[in-house]
Symmetry: C2
Subunit: 228 residues, 2 copies
Amino acid sequence: MSSPDYSIKLTVDAVVFGYREGQLFLALINRKYEPFRGQWALPGGFVLPDEDLEGAVQRELREETGIQTRFLEQLYTFGAVERDPRQRIVSVAYMGLLRPSDFQIVASTDAQDVAWFRVDALPPLAFDHSEIIQMGLQRLRNKLTYEPIGLNLLDEKFPFSDLERLYATILNRAFDRRNFRKKFLGFGILTELPEKISPDKGRPASLYTFDRERYETMQKEGFLFDIR
Amino acid sequence: MSSPDYSIKLTVDAVVFGYREGQLFLALINRKYEPFRGQWALPGGFVLPDEDLEGAVQRELREETGIQTRFLEQLYTFGAVERDPRQRIVSVAYMGLLRPSDFQIVASTDAQDVAWFRVDALPPLAFDHSEIIQMGLQRLRNKLTYEPIGLNLLDEKFPFSDLERLYATILNRAFDRRNFRKKFLGFGILTELPEKISPDKGRPASLYTFDRERYETMQKEGFLFDIR
DNA sequence: TCAAAAGTGTTATTACTACACCCATGG
DNA sequence: CCATGGGTGTAGTAATAACACTTTTGA
């Protein structure tokens, strides 16, 4: 009895979202090699024998895009036999989020092969990456409602209306300003700062910041974040 | 430049829960080989080059335990470098649920190396399987609240009180009988059957069945299952 | 007739929804 | 002084939580 061929290759892929001015963006790279050469694809690559999965994602993101995410979590593992036309490749997908400030830096590095696309206007994608992105989007939308994950898409200090607009944009529906504010601030996980920001036009807005410590304490005591 | 060694091995593991009489059980196998020979571990094994991940789980479950699950979903992928002391193995974990009837059959096959343990009294486990199980349990508990997944742990026809007891057992808290009933039946996804079941003692109970089709229709129309 | 589990309504409290006007600033 | 976006309260409605007695059966 000869031992069967277990040489399945393992990769990671990253669905990295950035948010700015009422638009959700996704980082894609242009493939230099076959298969799918010239097509857009998720950043990612092979896992090295001595690095864990999250480490691999972080390395690939750094190498391919220069991105350092503020939030990174495992999404799903894609293992359909035919997902790569050449060899058997199983890919562990991660979802990452980053702040407008970081996002802007990366977007402006003018790196040869990285680009940010609006999620509502994605180009054709290599492999099963469309499917992976769909799952990422769904996860983001779901998590927005039961974890304050959206705060990872905003700068450290932000006007409250940005938060509402972020929710409205990503969940693709309107929120009542007063109710949204009442509910979110009622959680007590945001701190109002003494500073204000002066936008181009209109009344200046107070800045808020996420009190992560307080959130974690409350969470341990059974608090359930919930926005719908 | 020589190509690096990408030979990471890929396995699947299954966290399979069964429920009976107010107790949640978990299927484990006793390892025949090193490492961890003689210790208890999750059913699982290598993914073959021409089968997808879910197929691999189903095959391993069949081969090692005879179990056919009623529900199976991907849980998480475990890839810490040192999780297997011998080689680099990344494992995709799945969570499975089965009905008391199926569960009883398996439990009584008296298979050499399979056993059901109460989840509140598990033996020491091989590898990082404790961690995997914890994640499975957490997923089960979470999902119980926003999907009618618990019905996969009951027989096709069941007295309503079994459902409440299942929730109370797994979530480890009491429910108010009237409120739980009102709310769950209010969803309209259970059908009351004309039959009744006569227990050992006490008043006979109506039998209910899960109207899966109706649930799926309602879900498409935006219905949100929610039990707390 | 007793023990055991099934079945059933009402009320108080809390959370949610809908809704419109004034405020502070820059141009 | 006008345009723009920030900031605020109330009332009706719906959902939730708390609570105890009656019914049906087998022994």
